[in-house]
């Protein structure tokens, strides 16, 4: 039996239940088991009933049932529903233990299922399909009501929408976990429990990690009983006007779930930093720390031990030293306004801390402004604005492997937020939405990550290379790998960070607390002798000095803050960051709203100085004179104080506080530099060779340099350090084309010509590995077979995978076929090849690709800009979402034709390609073989731009027309 979708409505469930009603399909016999228990019997009753259900399942299977429906319908004053996840997983694991699991499918009919995460959990713990009947009835009621849904909408349609949303949400969850089919996802248990008792998890959720113990069946029963009592109050009197609770999970409400940022803390934080009142700031931190203790964070459960003699506060390192360890979060220019972004940058530059560009590039004006630049340049999967110039002007380069608030997902900047000024720094088109791919297309293994670290180090040898990871089970191992891969900094990012733009499922349910990941990282690095060479940073809702000190004791030496400094800048947690309607001018590009921004760098400076002051106070109490002394002293965190909340009693936080036995003199923080091996690079020679050009006073005066060198595949990232020198000297404009023109013979290692700036041409006669022209920034790359080779180049592979990934400008001529993921996220380069593998031009936003040969599957997935010209294009190979972007040769206009002719001619000239030669020989016929792929919105925007320019409109009017065209498609 195959179900098209894992979420089913009542009819579908009924069909499944009655599929054997006539007795003609005994192979699909179904049985419904009741998931109710006698609520007043508490945890014991719950446990017994689960046992009974398991026994009933055994009997049903014995009797031939192949479908078991676990239903919590028909609860009453005495019977409460067993939480559907507990029931499902309990039966699932029982059937696995008794080797019967493959004989039945589990269908879940549950009233407590209403969110994507609920469905994702049920399927992840073994459900075949889920029937969220109460959610559907609620939707039906909403339709009948007509207030929130149009009254003329058929209830069936509304229910369909709900089912579709729940199911597609699960798909999204699967995609971020890297799982493609429901069959592989079902029972995969891609979850980590935080705060559940070990034996409870072992019994009912066998195989799930639960690191710190916690609540068990009794607590679950208590919570069920509390909910049940709301529906059936002991007094028999239901409250007037309060049919349902108000909630408050996603938006703060007085009677709802507590949030660390509530009106009181936001107000006190803003007022204290604006009026520079440390006394009010202390009220803020006190309140946050108190709430934290009420089970809102793990760190709230720790006490600082006073077993060491305290030191006078005057002896503790000054505020000015501590603030250097602070950085602000990676929020892109684009996601937040220029004003907000610059506020953070100015403040951090004043303090000597570091702000972060986020994934949006940096405006050229700011790159060179010591006051407004961001010291940390982020390199994320979208590679927006990642040019040689961007990297050269960084202090730190941060590779974002994942984002705490939404691990496994890329960012998304909707079209209406891509204002012209945003598009410029991202090298994209105004009005056209931008999608950051979930993965880095050049990282599929830790070795690939090491390669990227190496590439970036070459692009700026003075910069520290960060790797940002998300706290989860196993992050310690990854961090150890990152340290071995020569990263200078590893960032452990906690789950509770995040923007109002993150999907709600991710915001609430993805990632783990930094306390867990940080402790694991510190312990793993220490045990493997890798701690001394890498800086450990942490972030994720750090709000107070106490948070910083707890993080330091757990092993962090640097600290990131994002939400708090934004609140200081005026953020009031509107949580509409994705709508471009931020009323305080932060998460918006709307000029009207930006006018309303009232943050100032001095407020942010005050904030960090206050935090540092509080850190000093705590260090003095703990008896440390500097943070360096405190780092890693987890033994000073006390968890013995009885956690008095009834839900916290089973917690065991000791594993977090374990300090491995270390030999004498072992250090617990970074003391040495990583060896990146740059001295051995071929570029050392290239830089020497290019002395004539590099010593010029200006690009115009640069003497041409010509050279010829042998290359081997151990020569990785060739040309990148040379590019660094060029950009450092001559800026983003580089040198005149071909000023430095070097020919290599042999087989190039990975990342040949990565981030190559304008003015440098590298020719390779031989072949190349992966990542040729990664981040190409205006330079030129020509790869052709060795002149002595006698194979037919167009049938052979000349270079590997992921070429021109994230290229922003320049040209590449590749004489032969190339691998997969060609031109992913290209935003400005022209790349010519003679055949590409699967996933070509994925997520491309600009530039041009010319393919004079075959393309693989899934061409142009997520492509939102740029143009691809392909010979003999098979439309079936184009991604389904892009079919309307495919045009036949008849759509080529004269401009296209002339341009194509020129490109093919140059390809021939540069590479001696016989393919190009043949096309040129009969050009008119050749033209009929070209297809063109250009995304519709992008095309409309370009047309609007053309029209506006022809009409002589000003730049801003032109931009307006472009935005209009984008929105109207």
């Amino acid at each position: 039996m195959t179900l098209p979708f894992p979420v089913i409505d009542n009819d579908e469930l009924a069909k499944l239940i009655h599929i054997n009603a006539d007795g003609d399909l005994p192979g699909f016999k179904s049985t419904t088991l009741s998931g109710l228990y006698r609520v007043h019997e508490g945890g014991r009753g719950l446990s017994e009933r689960i046992k009974e259900v398991c026994a009933e399942a055994d009997a049903a299977i014995e009797a031939g049932a192949r479908l078991i429906v676990l239903s919590d319908r028909h609860s009453d004053a005495e019977h409460a529903p067993i939480p559907s996840l507990l029931l499902t997983s309990a039966v699932h694991h029982h059937l696995i233990r008794t080797k019967q699991r493959t004989q039945v499918g589990l269908l879940i009919e549950a009233g407590d299922v209403r969110e994507v995460h609920h469905v994702a959990l049920l399927i992840g713990y073994g459900a075949a399909a889920v029937n969220p009947y109460l959610a559907m009835e609620t939707v039906e009621d909403l339709v009948r009501d007509g207030t929130f849904l149009p009254g003329d909408m058929p209830a069936e349609d509304a229910i369909r929408n709900l089912i579709k949303a729940l199911g597609k949400g699960v798909l999204k969850v699967m995609s971020k976990m890297g799982i493609s089919t429901v069959a592989s996802y079902r029972g995969a248990q891609v979850f980590e429990a935080v705060g559940l008792d070990e034996s409870f998890v072992d019994t009912y959720f066998h195989g799930t990690t639960t690191k710190i113990g916690g609540a068990g069946l009794d607590v679950v029963a208590k919570e069920v009983a509390a909910r049940h009592a709301k529906a059936y109050p002991v007094t028999g009197i239901t409250a007037a006007h309060r049919a349902l609770e108000i909630g408050g999970e996603y938006q703060w409400r007085r009677e709802g779930e507590p949030h660390l940022f509530d009106p009181d803390t936001v107000f006190r934080l803003q007022h204290s930093t604006r009026a520079r009142r440390y006394d009010i700031f202390k009220q803020y931190t006190q309140r946050v720390d108190e709430q934290s203790e009420r089970l809102m964070t793990l760190r709230g459960l720790f006490q600082l031990k006073d077993e060491r003699p305290s030191v006078p506060i005057e002896e503790v390192e000054p505020v000015s030293e501590i603030v250097k360890r602070f950085s602000t979060g990676a929020m892109s220019y684009g996601s937040i306004s220029q004003e907000a972004h610059e506020t953070l940058a100015i403040a951090m530059n004043q303090l000597g801390g570091k702000s972060n560009t986020g994934e949006g590039g940096e405006d050229a004006v700011r790159l060179y402004d010591p006051a407004r630049r961001s010291a940390i340049k982020q390199v994320a999967s979208g590679r927006f604005g990642v040019t040689s110039e961007y990297l050269v002007n960084s202090d730190d380069i941060q590779i974002k492997m994942a984002q705490g608030a939404k691990p496994g997902e890329g960012g998304q900047l909707p079209g209406p937020k891509v204002y012209p000024w945003v598009a410029r720094t991202r090298h994209s088109t105004p009005g056209v939405g931008l999608i950051s791919p979930p993965p880095h297309h050049d990282i599929y293994s830790i070795e690939d990550l090491a390669q990227l670290i190496h590439d970036l180090k070459n692009a700026n040898p003075q910069a520290r290379i960060h790797v940002k990871l998300v706290s989860e089970v196993g992050v310690g191992t990854v961090a150890a790998g990152v340290s071995k891969a020569h990263a200078d900094v590893v960032l452990i990012s906690g789950h509770d960070g995040g923007t109002g733009a993150s999907p709600l499922t991710s915001l609430k349910h993805a990632g783990g607390p930094w306390e867990l990941g940080l402790a694991e990282t510190q312990q793993t690095l220490l045990l493997n002798g890798l701690r001394d060479r890498i800086v450990v940073q942490t972030d994720g809702q750090l709000k107070t000095g106490r948070d910083v000190v707890v993080a330091a004791l757990l092993g962090a030496e640097e600290f990131g803050f994002a939400t708090a400094p934004l609140v200081v800048s005026g953020c009031i947690m509107m949580r509409v960051c994705h709508l471009d309607t931020c009323p305080v001018g932060i998460a918006t590009q709307n000029p009207v709203l930006r006018e309303r921004y009232n943050g100032k760098a001095e407020f942010v400076v005050n904030y960090f100085q206050f935090i540092a002051e509080e850190v000093r106070e705590l260090l003095a109490e703990l008896g440390f004179r500097s943070l360096d002394e405190a780092i890693g002293h987890a033994e000073l965190l006390d968890v013995s104080r009885a956690v008095d909340h009834w839900k916290a009693q089973g917690l065991d936080l000791e594993p977090l506080l374990h300090v491995p036995d270390l030999p004498d003199g072992a250090v617990m923080h970074q003391v040495t530099e990583q060896d990146h091996g740059l001295a051995k690079a071929l570029d050392v020679e290239l830089i020497k060779l290019s002395a004539d050009a590099l010593s010029a006073d200006s690009g115009q005066d640069a003497q041409p340099v010509r050279g010829q060198l042998a290359i081997r595949n151990i020569n990785r990232t060739v040309g990148t350090m040379l590019g660094h020198e060029v950009t450092k000297k001559f800026g983003g404009a580089g040198l005149p084309d071909d000023t430095i023109d070097i020919t290599f013979t042999g087989s190039a290692g990975q990342s040949f010509g990565a981030f190559l700036p304008r003015g440098v041409t590298l020719r390779l006669e031989g072949d190349a590995n992966d990542y040729v022209g990664k981040g190409l920034s205006g330079g030129r790359l020509v790869v052709r077979p060795d002149r002595g080779a006698d194979h037919l180049a167009e049938f052979s592979t000349i270079a590997g995978n992921t070429l021109a990934y994230g290229a922003t400008g320049g040209e590449m001529f590749l004489r032969g076929k190339v691998g997969e993921r060609f031109c992913v996220r290209n935003s400005g380069a022209l790349v010519v090849s003679e055949g590409v593998g699967d996933h070509g031009c994925e997520y491309m936003t600009g530039g041009a690709a010319v393919v004079l040969g075959e393309t693989g599957r899934n061409f142009g997935a997520g492509m939102s800009g740029g143009t691809a010209y392909v010979v003999d294009l098979d439309p079936d190979n184009v991604n389904a979402g892009l079919r309307d972007a495919v045009h036949g040769h008849e759509d080529l206009d004269d401009e296209d034709k002339a341009w194509l002719h020129d490109v093919v001619r140059r390809h021939h000239q540069e590479t001696g390609s016989t393919v190009a030669e043949a096309l040129l020989a009969d050009w008119d016929t050749a033209l009929t073989r070209f297809g063109k792929v250009i995304p519709a919105t992008y095309k409309a925007v370009l047309a609007a731009k053309d029209a506006a320019e022809r009409a002589g409109l000003s730049e801003s009017e032109t931009h307006e027309k472009m935005m209009e065209a984008a929105i109207n498609g």
Binding site: P233, T235, I237, I246, Y250, Q251, F261, F267, P583
Partner: protein, 486 residues
């Protein structure tokens, strides 16, 4: 959310007032009837449905403002009324009389005029009454317990309604002849027509709440006896001890406390009197005290036909913008023009009354004042600035200093007072006497109606818990909670 861009596309628009010349001739509410309905849904659409709705915090009741703004925007008045009543027993009172700390806290107010929350509230409740959505909510069963509530002001009524709905039999004792406390005899008709109180009392009666008027506990019934008669008692008797002005000439005729002046005017509206024994007609009137009660005196004097009305305030004129020590979202002291001020009269700030001067009949004729300057929080007289102004009727609206200590209630119960003359209570609103609770101004000191309702609701929870061991009633505020301030 209602309309994601409503706050960008719609300007603030408030209820329309009737022309001054028209409204001073009658005692009806000053607003144009029905003028809100056509605009209010769009106004509600300005609500931004904040992640942290500061309005909901700024309101002592914790009104679910984003929720009902959304319903109002969608014109689902029944659902809006249901959500409104979830936290507020008497929105028709607050919708008319509350100074709206919610609007001071509105996030939109950081840089734009805030959402007209109060207008939305009053529209919802008026619509709800008109459409018959406000129905009695009697309890499904009775607990068999009875609770006496002393005082029928907003705190007492809220406590009584909550307790009745929780199954207890609540009996409200009111010393005046009509129910409502300050709402009835303190608030002039033009600010709230009394029919709103009557209508609500009818609902409460239908729910099972009992009312006894013209019974003053302490005087007519011994408080101890009352305690014995009931399972619990809630003192909601208000803070009725008025602050006086002990200056020479205070004993002259024509100088009255505001709460001596306003009630007879209201009795005229009730039809008990044809003219008020203390009328401003043909007189130069001086109102001492720049607060809301003062403004009520000003509006009443206008309607009675005063020759002139002057309102005196010892503090300097407040600013029109927030000062640094009153940042958003606090409820700031700002210069405001109430409806009474629109109607005329003069406001004089930074002045202190030195004495009164009367004529041969002992009637007040002149008020002598002097300018003052605030030095270290204390007014200091400026020599040479003395002057006198004509004053044939003077009303004192200078605030209240605690619960009535004359009628025997305090002594008979034996409840302790705090240093400010209020009845002391613990975290559950319980006094030192077993089973005796206190709510509203009697415990908090003079405050706003919205605080009184919030206290009544919260005290009801304390009583319910005292009687039953547990309580599912909401408690929006604690006895020591105060509005957010620096």
């Amino acid at each position: 959310m209602a309309d994601p861009k409503g706050f960008l596309n719609t300007d603030r628009e408030v209820a329309q007032s009737r022309p001054v010349e028209e409204r001073v001739k009658d005692w009806n509410e000053v607003y144009v009837p029905g003028s809100l309905l056509p605009i209010v849904s769009k106004q509600a659409g300005r609500c931004m449905d904040c992640g942290i709705p500061f309005c909901h915090q700024g309101c002592p009741l914790g009104n679910l403002i984003p929720e009902w703004n959304d319903y109002a925007y969608r014109e689902d008045w029944s659902a809006a009324s249901e959500r409104l009543h979830a936290t507020n027993n008497f929105p028709e009172f607050t919708g008319r009389l509350c100074p709206a700390p919610c609007e001071s806290a509105c996030v939109l107010g950081i840089n734009q005029p805030p959402v007209t929350i109060k207008n939305v509230e009053v529209t919802i409740i008026d619509k709800a009454w008109d459409n018959g959505y406000v129905t009695p909510q009697p309890p499904e069963r009775l607990s068999g317990k009875t609770v006496a509530v002393i005082g029928s002001g907003p705190a007492g009524l809220a406590a009584a309604q909550q307790l009745t709905r929780a199954g207890h039999t609540a009996v409200v004792y009111e010393r005046a002849d009509r129910l409502g406390g300050l709402l009835r005899y303190g608030i002039p008709e033009f600010k709230m027509e009394k029919r709103h109180i009557n209508r609500r009392i009818e609902q409460m009666r239908a729910e099972g709440t009992k009312f006894r008027t013209e019974v003053e506990i302490g005087r007519d019934i011994d408080a101890k006896k009352l305690r014995k008669r009931h399972d619990a008692v809630v003192i909601a008797a208000g803070a009725t001890t008025a602050r006086d002005l002990p200056v020479p000439g205070r004993d002259l005729n024509g100088i009255h406390q505001a709460m001596e002046y306003l009630p007879p005017s209201n009795k005229v509206q009730e039809g008990d009197l044809t003219v008020s024994p203390i009328s401003a007609e043909g007189k130069h009137v001086v109102v001492i005290g720049g607060g809301d009660t003062g403004a009520d005196c000003v509006g009443t004097a206008h309607r009675q036909g005063a020759v002139s009305v002057t309102q005196l305030e010892i503090m300097p004129k407040p600013g029109e913008e927030r000062s640094e020590n009153q940042p958003w979202p606090t409820f700031p002291m700002l210069y405001k023009v109430s409806s009474a001020h629109e109607e005329g009269g003069e406001r004089v700030y930074s002045v202190s009354t030195t004495h009164f001067e009367g004529d041969e009949n002992g009637d007040v004729q002149w008020l002598h004042l002097v300018e003052v300057e605030m030095k270290d929080g204390k007014p200091e007289q400026k020599p040479g600035t003395e002057q006198r102004i004509p004053a044939q009727l003077v009303t004192l609206a200078m605030g209240f200093t605690g619960v009535d200590r004359e009628n025997g209630l305090v002594e008979q119960f034996g409840v302790e007072l705090d240093e400010r003359g209020n009845v002391a209570r613990d975290g559950n609103y319980a006094t030192n006497v077993d089973g005796v609770f206190v709510a509203g101004d009697a415990g908090r000191g003079q405050s706003l109606i919205v605080w009184a309702i919030a206290e009544g609701r919260s005290a009801a929870k304390g009583v319910d818990r005292y009687l039953m061991g547990t309580s599912a009633l909401p408690a929006p505020v604690g006895p020591t909670d105060r509005a957010m301030a620096v």
